[in-house]
Amino acid sequence: MAEVAWAIPLCPLVAFVIISLGARRSPGFSAALSIVAVAVSLVLAVGVIADVLAGGHVEQSRVWIPAPAIAGPIVPLNAAALQSGAAPQPFSIGFQVDALTAVMLLVVTSISFVVQIYSLGYMRGDSGFARYYAFLSLFSMSMLGLVLANNFLALFVFWELVGLCSYLLIGHWHERPAAAEAAKKAFIVTRAGDVGLLLGVLFLYWHAGTFAFGDIAQMAADGRIPAGALTVGILLVFCGAVGKSAQFPLHVWLPDAMEGPTPVSALIHAATMVAAGVYLMARTFPILEHSSTAMAVVATIGGFTAFFAATMGLVSTDIKRVLAYSTVSQLGYMMLAIGIGAMSAGVFHLFNHAFFKALLFLCAGSVIHLVETNEMFEMGGLGRRLPLTTITMTIAALSLAGLPPLSGFWSKDEILGAALAGHPILFVLALATVGMTAFYMFRVIFLTFSGSFRGTGHVESHGEPISMALSLVILVIPSIISGFWGMPFAGNPFGRLVSGSAESTGFHPVVATSSVIVALLGIGIAWVMYGGGRIEAGAGLSARIAPLHQLLIRRYYLDDLYEWLVARVFLGIGRLAATFDAEVIDGAVNGTGALTVLIGGSLRRIQTGQVQTYAWALFAGILVLAVLLAGLRLER
């Protein structure tokens, strides 16, 4: 099955093309086509993972751009060729299937499948229904291609496609100014990181002479890439991951991306967009691990982001924004895990997180679908109206908070255990994040479902549409059990599969106990402050610590700083450049023209039309030549 893994991204691509070519006139058919395509991909992905569990590993490459096409004035293309004078290697494109890819294929296809089913209900009657499904298909295709790519060049192509699709989907309701701006923000901020990625890819190619992950990792292991170059290259690649996975300081786009339809948020947060950055670092981990500096940077950024984003989640009153901060925070966890060398733990957390975070978003979507607002202070008492959503969202929140035996517990504890082994500061940060995560998630649960309805107007109690309810039920199962795959008691089969090593991390009773206590503490505080849907205690506390509260509400003023940077500094530089262009460059060009006219105007006066004037000039010229020739003769 793994040999035909290339067909997995092809199915959604075919769906996208057919919908775009004309099927979009029938929204129902478009949706069905898209869902069938991703279902086929899901079946194939299950087949692939069965193959991989049986020990399969496939890597195939085809020549993409032959050597003669890239030979030319830019040869040699890399330092190795520069030294040896070797002919340039052709650029190849190909796919590989190993444990990491298989896991990602499973996550992407399954989440995409569920989200597309859920969207049937959520997006019913939307004017852009078919377009929405077309882009969902393209999004799935891009992400699937990304995880299948076996070299940086192909990965970068799909990486940018993912960015494009997120832009299109966040801006699905583009007639809303906020959505259009959020889409632009997401695109531009991630692009800032992508510049780093592109530079990193070229830098590594310059030193290694190849784009293939395996070859570069092999050269790094053999020490054939200078240590400094390796650090610089991989850190540049990490820039791309920082942008895509919304790590500090490029996290600002993710909370704004909530302007997109909620199922899209689920897809972006769980499987297709932000996972790409973590996946990239996991995929390049064999390169990364040869640079301790880069590892430390990744771990520090990850740990800091986990803590930093969680603090902002504490105060947000928008249900989707809380989930967004939680995503940023959890992605920080994953980066932290990769940075401290526990790559399989990071991927395991990515795997578990995908299911319960998708579930959380879909639950939030069904709440928003009912009350038509994102403000939690205008909700409350919805538990009776949406019993299924209440139960599933509580389970997902418990899983995110890391309570056993739900899936989040296993991966979070594996990361915490790895952090404790050598990075005490990061461990403390991560542990504090556990408490905050539990607090803000249950703040959401209590504010939304318990107490009485605080909003204005009458809310019809129609429950969840069937397709949405079905999706929630489908997703609640992996949210509970997906963690068992990496249970230390069972020898952590997931970790061994992804990392390829025989040994498994043990169970840390101390870590597990302390994280559960901290999580329960967070839930307890949430209960004391917001239990029963009360909001007075929270309001009183935020009034007492007003400056700190304001700092968090304003997101540490980072958005304001960026806005100031763009509006003042960048635009100022831009205006300066425009002035320089208009005055100096255009001035030089116009000056040349004016000078020519001036010279011509004065020279035309010697064109008298008098034959004898010309004759005078002629003989004077001959005289000058004669004198010059005589002078030359004399010198000799």
Binding site: R604, Q607, T608, G609, Q610, V611, Q612, W616, F619
Partner: protein, 111 residues
């Protein structure tokens, strides 16, 4: 016994060159200063004659058979004849047009 006449003063290369240069310069002055187009044409003929004298002198005093200079002179004569014919035709045409052959009144080429 009558005294022997002094030997005829030999005509050297310098004589020829000085004569040629003088003719050329005279012609040039005429060509540059005269206003009448016919006079200018005549002056140009004088300049051509100066050039021919120079060619012939060099040919005469060169070592070995130097026919090049003499052939050049014949060519110049031929071309001068053609030039005179064309030049006079132009002068007549100009005269018919303007009732004058003064070159300073002809400035249609002014830029």
């Amino acid at each position: 016994m009558p005294t022997a006449l002094p030997p005829l003063y030999p005509i050297t290369l310098q004589h020829g060159l000085v004569l040629g240069a003088a003719l050329f310069s005279l012609g040039m002055i005429g060509a540059l200063t005269k206003r009448n187009a016919i006079e200018i044409l005549m002056s140009i003929e004088v300049m051509l004659n100066g050039v021919m004298v120079t060619f012939i002198s060099f040919a005469r005093h060169a070592q070995g058979p130097a026919l090049g200079g003499q052939i050049f002179a014949i060519f110049i004569m031929t071309v001068a004849a053609a030039e005179a014919a064309v030049g006079l035709a132009i002068v007549i045409a100009v005269y018919r047009l303007r009732r004058s052959v003064a070159v300073d009144t002809v400035n249609s080429l002014q830029g």
